[in-house]
Symmetry: C2
Subunit: 429 residues, 2 copies
């Protein structure tokens, strides 16, 4: 009989079962069995009296962050080229950088720094775009497997409207994608391949059709970009004038909820597009820092939440600069207040608990039972020491507010994924 | 004959003479005589060959930051109560906290943490609101004098529409203000008193009139809040229906450029109000983090710049959470992009150099020849080590971009004001 591994952690427990409320246990306990949460308690139940307790004292224990959108190969470019709009930014800064990932040594160096960064900021699981390059994508998958962080990693597909050096042969793009699916599907609980067409303007109908078929054949998840930018919207409309909205193009090709799907940005989504997302269970991924940096616009994230579309949040490096989802969370709150104001208060701003929810359980649900401390959830957690408020007295709810608005990765003391305490990645690949 | 003190600093010199361009000297020199910049150089002039050089190697030397708006007594409340609008926020969170400053022990503790914070983030000069309390205001002035940071500190005036515990007797408010002006004017190059009516809704006509007279009599500068929030705008309109705009009320009472004046927020300023500011030389102070946090709105800062209104930037704690003007600067860029988008591109976004300019020379000009390294400017400077980009190669302009979008106070190595290298404040008051 296999012996169960039981851990008990003590601290101020914070999580969001529902989007509307924080669950807060002052000096509470979370009991973890084989990496999964048994439950949270205000005192240790009789049956666990003899299990040793790891006591984090006055620190917080909260679910770790789930990043729904990051481009690994853009990590070197963070903070650069942010005075131009999306399409210019792609062609003048981003595509030239992505081209470098045909060189595996360069790729390894970038991934190395990226993975240390993800660990540092407590993004224990991420949806990660790579470039078109098959070998670099495999390298990134391998490095995730080695370091213990969770991810879906997608080889990007693009066969039209790109510079020559990034324009794929359609057949080869599909073959490379299938090779990665065959090699990496099912080999790990934490690291998976995902299908990642760049976006409609970069993909021929034939490519989209082939990717939809691969998604079906391998029951593989999908991620892409949707309704991000005005110039992009016009381009898509001119390419597919017969379609009622951008999302319906992905839908036509079987890339819009036929398998689990995340669509990033959704700034200019029409009511019909939002309804299609709800019906198909497509995740809307909010990237407020990126959207502000590139001048794209402000997503009405509350509208998606109100209508029952599943919502997560992402740093979208390098449209976004900071990979810390604490920064992105407070930006989301700001943007939602401006959206509310400009809608004449027809749309309420995000509540604090909603911002926390989408950053933990909302996005986490794409990965499984992730982002909460309810029974059966994976114990993905951060231990937080909020040392910026050493001097004054605050109650726990005030400290949570301050963590969201003033906190940073400097406050993170421990990082768990599925019950394992993960140490900083040190690669020797 | 007094011997001159000459210092030479070597590093990558960055500053903005004009708003449209960075001046960048790779491995340059700045020569400082008696605390003032002689000039910047690519090699050391003959006359200075024998002066020892402080070599900061691959680090940047840039003007320090000038914060045009912070409320010292709100420092404890950073990050709290940011899910309500301005007027509710004042009455439920901010006024109760400000009331505590009748207790000088409490006040001293808060100021202590505040001043360490200002030093840490490189805000070498600040415009600081205190509470209504005379003694606490004097304490704050004394603590600024002791620690060597620059400031204008204002005792706040409010005699109507406040809770009883903060409603001043009008005569006493004026007497207290005058006592501070008499005691502190002219005693220091770095620390000065300033007249600080809270805002029109908090001040009776008699109080505004008296403050206007004090400003004239003592030729004292003025700071207040202007056109920040929709509810506030309606309240002001109902109080002064005969005035064409909010600013013209201050103007009527001699508090709008008759002496040097800074007005914060200016989100709902009409064209006429902006023109009055230009004509009177009133500074517009941009507080994008605060404006987003409180859901107030987005100031069209570029409009003020284009029309020739002097512009600075502020953290506005505790409407704003982070006192680092690096954070505020990148927020200003974001907000300006959204304003541009919502104006259908009639207004261009801020350029990077403009954001840097208003944070250094723009706001600095209120304090004197501050915020640039042109000849005759005070050597107010920061030494920056951008260690978040250890691995990759970047040119200097890329590094400046990354500092603005990714930098933090962790990157600051040295802090100068008027040529003096300032150490962390350690108070024994």
């Amino acid at each position: 009989m296999k012996r169960e591994k039981i851990d008990i952690y003590k601290g101020h427990i914070v999580f969001t079962k529902t989007k509307d409320h924080f669950t807060i246990l002052e000096n509470g306990y979370v009991i973890v069995k084989d990496g999964k949460v048994v439950d949270t308690y205000t005192s240790i139940p009789e049956a666990y009296q003899y299990v040793p307790v790891t006591d984090y004292g006055d620190k917080f224990i909260m679910p770790s962050f789930n990043d729904m959108h990051i481009h690994a190969p853009q990590f070197r470019n963070r903070g650069l080229c942010l005075d131009i709009n999306l399409m210019d930014w792609l062609f003048s800064c981003t595509f030239p950088e992505e081209a470098k990932f045909s060189n595996l040594d360069y790729a390894r160096n970038v991934y190395n720094i990226l993975l240390k960064g993800l660990w540092k900021v407590g993004n224990m699981r991420s949806l990660v775009y790579n470039t078109i390059h098959k070998d670099a994508t495999k390298l990134l998958l391998n490095m995730f497997l080695e370091c213990g962080l969770g991810a879906y990693v997608g080889k990007v597909n693009m066969d039209i409207n790109a510079p020559d050096y990034l324009n794929e042969d359609t057949e080869q793009s599909l073959l490379d994608t299938e090779e990665i699916l065959m090699q990496y599907q099912g080999i790990s609980d934490l690291v998976h391949p995902i299908i990642a067409p760049r976006f409609v303007p970069s993909c021929s109908p034939k490519l989209l059709c082939g990717l939809g078929y691969l998604a079906y054949q391998y029951q593989a998840p999908v991620m892409s970009h949707l309704s991000e930018d005005i110039v992009e919207m016009k381009l898509v409309k001119s390419m597919y004038p017969q379609f009622p909205n951008y999302g319906s193009i992905y839908n036509y090709y079987g890339l819009f909820g036929q398998t689990p799907t995340v669509m990033a940005h959704c700034i200019f989504s029409s009511d019909e597009e939002i309804e299609l997302m709800r019906k198909n269970g497509v995740y809307a991924n909010h990237n407020p820092t990126s959207n502000c940096n590139l001048g794209s616009g402000m997503m009405a994230v509350k509208k998606f939440i109100n209508r029952g579309v599943p919502v997560g949040i992402g740093c979208d490096v390098s449209g976004g600069g900071d990979i810390s989802l604490i920064t992105v969370m407070s930006y989301a709150l700001s943007v939602s207040k401006m959206v509310s104001l400009y809608s004449n208060k027809q749309l309420e701003p995000l509540k604090l608990s909603e911002a926390f929810y989408i950053t933990t359980k909302g996005g986490g649900s794409f990965f499984g039972k992730i982002g909460s401390f309810e029974p059966g959830y994976e114990f993905d957690a951060l231990v937080i020491e909020d040392n910026y408020i050493k001097f004054f007295e605050y109650n726990l709810y005030e400290r949570i507010q301050q963590f969201i608005f003033l906190g940073s990765s400097e406050n993170i003391r421990e990082r768990f994924i599925s019950g394992n305490n993960i140490k900083e990645p040190m690669f020797l690949l």
